[in-house]
């Protein structure tokens, strides 16, 4: 077992660099001659633009240019694409509206980009921005997705009737209806999944440089994978080949899905860099980030479970209204549909599932993926609905889940929404969680809390996540002249610890010390293809690529070693980083062998370069799952909630690095508790202004607001990849909102509160208690 061995809690090798301020983020890059860009944004949620005057702005010393939508149109710059084809229930296609980089004569949400000012300094650009005169003809706005569907609602897009983007379905409707018709009991629930601001620690930034001689751009920007950007911005926006763009992703301070997408600012910096022949940088400030980063969630969902007389789940039926915002972001329509509904069956043996999802335009910031991306929303619905069903049937909620779980003997399990689970031992994971949480000891704790005037509640959720992302991944292993092994990967760490996990994998396979392995990422020129990071895909995708590449390296090494050691290739064995002749003590370690081969080639002798690149097909995605258990204490006098106990029993498959897995789960749980208890994105319904537009009014959870989070790993190896891993990046955020809300409702149910939407702020909790029929 080495320091970097698999399954070891190796401390993250990237942390010393990042913690000492030695990270290099996009805004840290300062090329000579750099100009700075500032985006002028709409103060209106809906308005026609009747005039833009930039003359005074252009007179500000240091201003290089001011661009408006008219300039982009003149130069043939395309809009931002939505990458999701979709067919409606009636066979028609979803609404397809443009997403102009700068306003095309109208603005559709507060923060919509209208002009781009480029100057020698940010200060000059801001001075100039204030001198741009824009005439707005204000229009009525709509921000609530249900209100937007009403007949008299203002239209965000005149050509999109009823603001309806799509009306999509999945599942066997007829079979579902039949099962509902024969059900002994039907339980219904309507829930709101609140909109959240992503709030990554590092705000977005983009630095574009243009080389006129080659006609190529270099775009340095904080992404979750530059390849997706390159493939869009070239063909779709600038109408050139994708390879005209080199996208460099330096260190990234958090993405959570939000940094996957192509944004207006990417285009604007590239456009200006080409026009002006100088590097152009834009960096978001925090206030701007609230208005220009995609938001997450924002669904209103009705769900129904049909059960038989024994409490067995027959069918699930849902209708979800999903707020898309004013424009369709890259994957906006994908999130509540293909991504979200794929896990609706969760770990339960539903005979049929039918889901109808209606996407809606509103005058709000576009919505797209946020940690979990559709799966948290579906799990939240199902787990809330199961608790409601248990209450209605008078069956213990643990027992109800237990009674309906798919068993290991039923694997692989085909769900009614087209997923095939390869593995899972849900009962074992559930029982492990219950024991660790001391579920049975709750009554005593509740009595203690009651003595203090507090309502104690316990909640659980059993989540199932379906990882996603690109269907292949690439790895390249190169033996560098300085004695290091460089591994080039197509995923993109935004803080997850890839540099450590991949080192562990590589060190294990090649038998080299982990300190001699470097992970290279984030440059589309040196890494020709990559799927980026999102959907918790990185370890199982990139891991397979690293395994495949390492295997080829070893095969090449055997040939090279046979030459060096003057033995038949068949007599060469590889173990613990050393090629040796079987049955002898003669051999050579892999680093020496690689260096010797490089030397031979340099000196004109024959040699075998061990460097190798392989692309691994990712045939099947994975299904991390687990049990979240929360205990909350409610002050019925004020409505204040405190999460006092939290246990996760997680099956993320084999844990390559349990320390990193637990850290990932901790982060996800923090975000889930944030959504459940604190975070609320509020738009003024009349003006469309974002009322929670800063951290003074948008409450993020802080470390002190969170309990100790005890994560138990129950490893049920994934059967569809050789590493047996399932993914852990999103899991914490998927399981935590329903666990916390179920706990809150468990506490409040004794006072007659049976329904409450997130976030459970003190005011909401207190108001629910006042409105309850049996309120004290």
């Amino acid at each position: 077992m080495t320091t970097f061995g698999l399954a070891q809690p190796v401390r993250r090798v990237e942390d010393p660099r990042l913690l000492k301020g030695e990270g290099r983020y996009t805004d840290d890059i300062q090329p000579a001659g750099q100009l700075r860009g500032v985006v002028v944004r709409s103060p209106y949620a809906a308005a026609r633009i009747t005039g833009i005057r930039t003359e005074e702005a252009l007179k500000v010393p240091g201003v290089a240019a001011v661009y408006t939508g008219a300039d982009l149109k003149t130069d043939g710059i395309g809009g931002l694409p939505c990458l999701v084809p979709m067919t409606n229930r009636d066979g028609s296609h979803r609404a397809n509206v443009p997403h102009p980089v700068l306003a095309d004569g109208a603005v559709r949400h507060v923060g919509d980009p209208v002009a781009f000012v480029v100057a020698e300094t940010v200060e000059a650009a801001r001075d100039a921005a204030e001198l741009i005169e824009i005439d707005y003809d204000g229009l009525s706005a709509v921000t609530d997705p249900e209100a937007a569907l009403k007949a008299d609602a203002p239209l965000v897009w005149p050509d999109v009737s009823g603001n309806q983007v799509f009306d999509w379905e999945i599942g066997d409707r007829a079979k579902t209806e039949a099962l509902f018709a024969q059900a002994a009991r039907v339980t219904k629930l309507r829930i709101v999944n609140n909109r959240v601001v992503v709030a990554s620690m590092e705000a977005r930034a983009a630095l574009a440089e243009y080389d006129a001689s080659s006609g190529r751009w270099t775009l340095s920007t904080n992404t979750q994978g530059g390849w997706l950007l390159k493939d869009q911005i070239g063909p779709e926006v600038f109408h050139v080949e994708a390879d005209k763009f080199r996208v460099i992703t330096p260190d990234v301070g958090g993405g959570f899905g939000m940094k996957l997408f192509l944004y207006a600012e990417h285009v604007l910096t590239c456009y200006a860099a080409r026009k002006l022949g100088r590097p152009v940088k834009w960096t978001s400030d925090r206030s701007e980030a609230f208005l220009c980063d995609t938001h997450g969630r924002d669904n209103v969902t009705e769900g129904e479970i049909a059960t038989d007389a024994d409490g067995r789940f027959l069918a699930l039926r849902t209708r979800n209204i999903a707020n898309m915002g004013a424009y369709l972001s890259n994957f906006g329509p994908y999130i509540p549909t293909f991504a979200g509904t794929g896990v609706l069956a969760s770990v339960y043996g539903f005979q049929s599932v039918y889901a109808n999802v209606v996407g809606v335009f509103t005058n709000t910031v576009p919505v797209d993926a946020y940690r979990g991306a559709g799966r948290p929303e579906s799990n939240y619905l199902v787990e809330r609905l199961i608790d409601e069903t248990a209450r209605a049937l008078g069956i213990d909620r643990v027992e109800l889940r237990r009674r309906n779980m798919v068993l290991p003997t039923q694997m692989p399990h085909q769900t009614p929404v087209g997923k095939t689970y390869d593995s899972g031992d849900f009962l074992r994971v559930l029982d492990a969680g219950l024991a660790r949480f001391d579920w049975a000891g709750f009554d005593a704790r509740r009595a203690q809390a009651a003595a203090r005037g507090k309502l104690l509640g316990r909640g659980l959720s059993y989540y199932l996540e379906a990882t996603g992302g690109a269907p292949s991944e690439r790895a390249e292993i190169r033996f560098a002249d300085d004695g290091f092994v460089d591994v080039y990967v197509g995923t993109q760490s935004t803080g997850q610890g890839h540099e450590t996990a991949y080192v562990q994998l590589t060190a294990d396979r090649l038998g080299v010390d982990g300190s001699r392995v470097r992970i290279r990422q984030g440059d589309t020129d040196t890494i020709p293809v990559g799927g980026g990071t999102g959907g918790a895909r990185s370890l199982y995708s990139e891991g397979q690529a690293i395994l495949a590449t390492a295997a080829t390296v070893i095969e090449k090494g055997k040939r090279a070693a046979s030459e060096m050691l003057e033995a038949a290739p068949a007599d060469i064995a590889f173990a613990a980083g050393r090629f040796s002749i079987v049955g002898t003590d003669r051999g050579v370690d892999i680093l020496t062998l690689a260096a010797e081969q490089h030397r031979a080639i340099r000196e004109g002798r024959e040699g075998t370069i061990l460097d190798t690149a392989e692309v691994a097909k990712v045939d099947a995605h994975t299904f991390p799952n687990g049990c979240h258990l929360a205990e909350v204490e409610v002050d019925p006098d004020t409505g204040h909630i405190e999460v006092v106990r939290y246990v996760v029993s997680d099956d993320v498959g084999k844990a390559i690095n349990p320390l990193i897995v637990r850290g990932q789960v901790h982060g996800g749980v923090a975000q889930g508790i944030g959504q459940a208890v604190f975070e609320h994105t509020v738009f003024d319904p009349d003006s469309g202004q974002l009322l929670s537009g800063s951290f003074m009014d948008y409450a993020l959870p802080r470390a002190g607001d969170l309990p100790d989070i005890d994560v138990d790993l129950v490893e049920v190896p994934c059967a569809t990849n050789p590493l047996g891993v399932k993914g852990a990046g999103e899991a914490g955020a998927v399981g935590s909102p329903p666990a916390v809300m179920n706990a809150i409702l468990d506490a409040l149910s004794s006072r007659g509160v049976l329904q409450l939407d997130m976030p459970a702020t003190p005011a909401r909790v207190w108001e629910a208690l006042q409105a309850a029929p049996r309120a004290a």
């Binding site: 801001r126 400030d285 009014d697």
Partner: protein
């Protein structure tokens, strides 16, 4: 952020060097709000820190806290002082949502003049029955004095006229010896207050006062000759703070704020009453 419309920064060393007030001027103390968002209407900043006001001065009449006293300085006083009211000083400082960087720059005067419902320096000064000392007419005119509830009249609203300068708040000596009780609630423990109530008890006279802030659009101080009974306290709350006076924003509804105000008021009454009964 940089205030890119500022054309001039004045740094007066003496009161008589304060320039005549003109449109586009702003007093600059800590600058934590001024520099937090665009201020396109501003052209000139008049830095008050160069006047060299002593942050906190203990006088025979009480305590004079300069408008330029930072939260950090005030918190240090609250930690170090043996005065009974010192604990309240520290509690109010800790109610100010801000990092140590903000604490080191943000000022007592800035927080009061910002006149937000949740401004904890407003809560503190109101509870201690402090008097605001205002230099009028560009800071060079006659001195005006008023209590904080007369100064802060609503969210972002106060009775300061253009060119009026808050010089200090003066806390009467007797108030420094009051027993205090503090209650606060917010979306998360370190967050903008949804309601912040302070009770004071003058042991010498048994005089009781309840200060209501953050829940209401402007501060209110309810004074009683002694610790009232629950009914009297509730009645006076309802009489002096109408339902329309409670804030309605993302931090909580008016109904909830009225409820927690009543709840905290009663808790405070009991806590301080226990010292008398």
């Amino acid at each position: 952020m940089d205030l890119n419309t500022i054309e001039e920064l004045m740094t007066p060393g003496l009161r008589n060097e304060l320039p005549p007030w003109r449109t586009g001027d702003a007093w600059l103390a800590g600058g934590t709000w001024l520099f937090s968002e665009p201020q396109p209407a501003l052209r000139r900043l008049i830095d008050l820190t160069t006047l060299g006001w002593q942050p906190i001065a203990e006088t025979p009449d009480g305590l004079e806290i300069a408008a330029t006293c930072t939260i950090a300085d005030l918190a240090a006083f609250g930690s170090d002082s043996a005065l009974p009211a010192a604990a309240l000083v520290l509690q109010c400082c800790e109610a100010l949502l801000g990092s140590f960087k903000v604490w080191n720059m943000a000022t007592v005067g800035g927080n009061i003049c910002m006149s937000l419902p949740a401004g904890p320096m407003i809560s503190l000064a109101t509870a201690l029955d402090a008097e605001a000392v205002i230099w009028t007419e560009s800071g060079r005119g006659p001195e005006r004095r008023c209590r904080i509830p007369e100064l802060v009249t609503g969210p972002h609203e106060n009775s300061l006229q253009p060119g009026d300068l808050l010089r200090a708040i003066r806390v009467p000596l007797r108030a420094l010896h009051w027993k205090t009780a503090f209650r606060r609630i917010s979306l998360n423990p370190i967050g903008r207050s949804g309601a912040l109530l302070i009770g004071t008890l003058d042991s010498a006279t048994d005089g009781f006062a309840l200060t209501v802030t953050a829940a209401t659009r402007r501060p209110a101080r309810l004074v009683f000759p002694g610790v009232p009974d629950a009914g009297s306290l509730g009645a006076k709350l309802d009489q002096l703070i109408l339902p329309s006076a409670y804030c309605d924003d993302v931090h909580g509804s008016p109904d909830w704020r009225q409820h927690v105000t009543r709840l905290f008021a009663e808790e405070i009454r009991r806590e301080l009453g226990a010292a008398v009964w």
